[in-house]
Subunit: 436 residues, 2 copies
């Protein structure tokens, strides 16, 4: 079946910044067939974009989608990971909550124009199940942690779950299994090496939290190391490594990351809300280190919207380097699309509107008051737009969002289901009430 | 006529943070009569808020609402004020554009929950006209500038327009005329003193851009001064002074501001996007200097949404001071409401939900994906919500927004009118195309 998206302001995100003010995109079976303007081809189904901005779906490089129940809980609480997040996860997380949370989070991402996401959590098989029920593309990994987790007693359990997961989804179309040790100080050296071995053996992406926490930095500094130099010593630096956060990087870290092809999942919404710092992305880019945006989980960000990341990225980089001209808007839109694809080694399939590329597309309505005028559409996307402006989304060739509504399932109904499933979770949270 | 807003999560913003999970607010003739929960009073008109968050309307302390035509133009261009904004204003601004832009901007603000704004621009009488046609409260001032402006050849012209304006609106209910010299380096000493004299004579607020620009800081530093110490020398520091921006403040500046009761209109969206810096608001607050949020104009911010300011404020202050616990969400909501009221000496009328206060209210829908769960409603407002979540707005007792639509006029129709009026403006902009 051929689908024609017409009357759109198409931003192709190609090398020449080609755009069509009254353009169209023709898709068939999950692929883009044609993009252009003028005489439109025939199609079985036609979507009138009414002048909306049509661009590739966003790529979210770091998420824990299932953490929806934690949203707005203890947002301003220092050291929340150790003080209530880890404990509460261990006490109250169930496979059902992970499944429902993931499905809710995926719905939220689709509604905000994201069509590919990277996720690491527990019971990741439940995340995969939710993902397969939708049009979303998932790079999913079971978290390996050297302490008790909701679904394993030790790092050995996490490694076993990871390998099972790698095998189970090896041939999946929309799910790419990845390896996901939690972080540089929360996983033993042996388990980190085992993760790297799995990543190499299966040709799978490896992702972890790195150079994020103050205590992490202190821990390594005391040994004359940085998190990145430590990972280098263990042999984890490679172009399969997608390092999340990377707030605190030395010149030498950047040099090593560039030399080994390491990629950065930049989570500015999460980092800035926690007051942790602003990653030196300008310096990473000047060394040609690939990077893209991650929302982090819904209790970190607190939204799963890449629009929020784009805007926060713009203002924090410009402020950090005291330079208004740094990262013009259109470059930022490119990092949110092609940049993310490059980090996943998917730049020949995702992140552009061109024949042969995946039919992962979004249409941004210009109806909202803040979307006028549209002198520069990239500027409007970065500085004005928000998740609620996303009108239609096509994921893997399927129209999954039409006029701001999911087509495949009801988010309000899912919310009610999640509310019921959360009662035990909220009960368990009671004992942390003073800090959350 | 009595209006009852029912089934709302009411945040009163009083000293005790009183909230009602299933609460109501009763209004009559522009005033709040009653707030509570349980048995509801009789009313002539009932609005079911369906569990939405009900709070006081936001107060926007710094705006140039009419600058809508400039939005997304040259966002990443350094020194844009002198390179194209001032020149283009002088070449292409007309009273009609100011009127239509103001009306559009006011519509955008009402749609995003703002019910009071401070504005300074040219042809300010046209802004007043637009304001009077809506339910918005405006603190409006004609800009005094010691160079040619769109509506005067010299500062003398601006001063004359200011005095006319002060007289014309002296008795207005919803418009408070103010005195608005442009900035510390763009207005002569004599004109600044004349502005202060007018402000004192008419008991009017005085607002200007201060401690914002790099060149402004250098200019005063070369004379052993700061913008604030210069204003002090001229006798402009008083509790009638609402200083916009205040990015670069010394300890002594803060001391002087506190001693004289100066207020800050903090414009973080504008400041951060320009890479100018982050105002030391924590230090201002520790000296009890009143502050609130300003969006700046729609080409600075780029939205007129106080939600965007709240979130950017949270993340930039926490990052600047490396402290996640700084400014918990509920305090930020208070600055956006009561804080703004205090800056305008309106804290006994605006910014709280209590009997006798103005019926300036907003209801935030919790339908959007990012608004669930609502463990902490203040957190949801600061970290998750955006302008598009505003469901209903009451301004001065009138329901001006119902279910995300203006009730008094059509924004799409206004947009078409503005588009037509902008053709000459876009023609004039052509010569700046390379930088914008």
């Amino acid at each position: 079946m051929k689908t024609l998206l017409k009357h759109a302001h198409v931003l192709t995100m190609d090398d020449q910044w080609t755009a069509f003010e009254d353009g169209y995109v023709l898709t068939e079976g999950g692929r883009i067939l044609e993009v252009g303007s003028g005489n439109m081809p025939e199609a079985d189904r036609v979507v009138d974009c009414r002048g909306g901005i049509l661009l590739p779906g966003f790529i979210n490089l770091h998420c824990h989608a299932s953490m929806v129940p934690f949203r707005t809980m203890g947002d301003d609480c220092p050291d929340r990971l150790r003080r209530f997040l880890f404990p509460l996860e261990n006490e109250a997380l169930t496979p059902e909550l992970v499944y429902l949370g993931a499905k809710y989070g995926i719905g939220e991402m689709l509604l905000s124009g994201t069509t590919t996401f990277v996720d690491m959590y527990y019971f990741e098989d439940e995340v995969a199940r939710a993902c397969l029920e939708t049009g979303m593309r998932g790079f999913l990994g079971e978290t390996v942690l050297s302490q008790k987790t909701p679904d394993s007693e030790s790092e050995g359990g996490g490694l076993k779950l990871t390998e099972d997961f790698l095998r189970k989804y090896a041939a999946s179309d929309r799910i790419r299994p990845i390896v996901a040790p939690h972080g540089t100080t929360t996983v033993s050296e042996a388990a980190l090496r085992a993760c790297e071995a799995l990543s190499e053996q299966y040709g799978a992406l490896l992702t972890l939290h790195a150079s994020e926490m103050d205590y992490e930095m202190t821990y390594f500094r005391d040994q004359g190391l940085t998190p990145m130099s430590y990972l280098g010593r263990l042999g984890l630096l490679s172009d399969r490594l997608l390092a999340a956060h990377c707030i605190h990087l030395t010149e030498d870290d950047l040099k090593q990351m560039a030399a080994h092809g390491v990629r950065i999942a930049h989570c500015i919404g999460s980092n800035a809300k926690a007051g942790k710092g602003i990653s030196p992305i300008r310096d990473a880019v000047s060394r040609a280190i690939p990077f893209g945006f991650g929302t982090d989980g819904p209790s970190s960000g607190n939204t799963l919207s890449i629009f929020d990341q784009m805007r926060l990225f713009a203002v924090t980089q410009k402020t950090r380097y005291h330079d208004r001209s740094l990262f013009p808007a259109r470059e930022i839109v490119r990092y949110a699309t092609r940049g993310g694809a490059e980090c996943l080694h998917m730049e020949h399939t995702l992140g552009q509107i061109a024949p042969g590329y995946a039919a992962d597309l979004q249409v941004i309505s210009t109806d909202a008051a803040h979307m006028f005028p549209l002198y520069n559409p990239y500027s409007a996307l970065v500085y004005s737009a928000n998740a609620s402006d996303v009108d239609c989304v096509m994921a893997d060739g399927n129209l999954v969002v039409v006029h701001h509504e999911l087509t495949q399932w009801s988010l309000p109904a899912l919310r009610e289901e999640l509310k019921r499933a959360m009662s035990g979770f909220y009960q368990a949270a009671e004992k942390y009430r003073e800090i959350i």
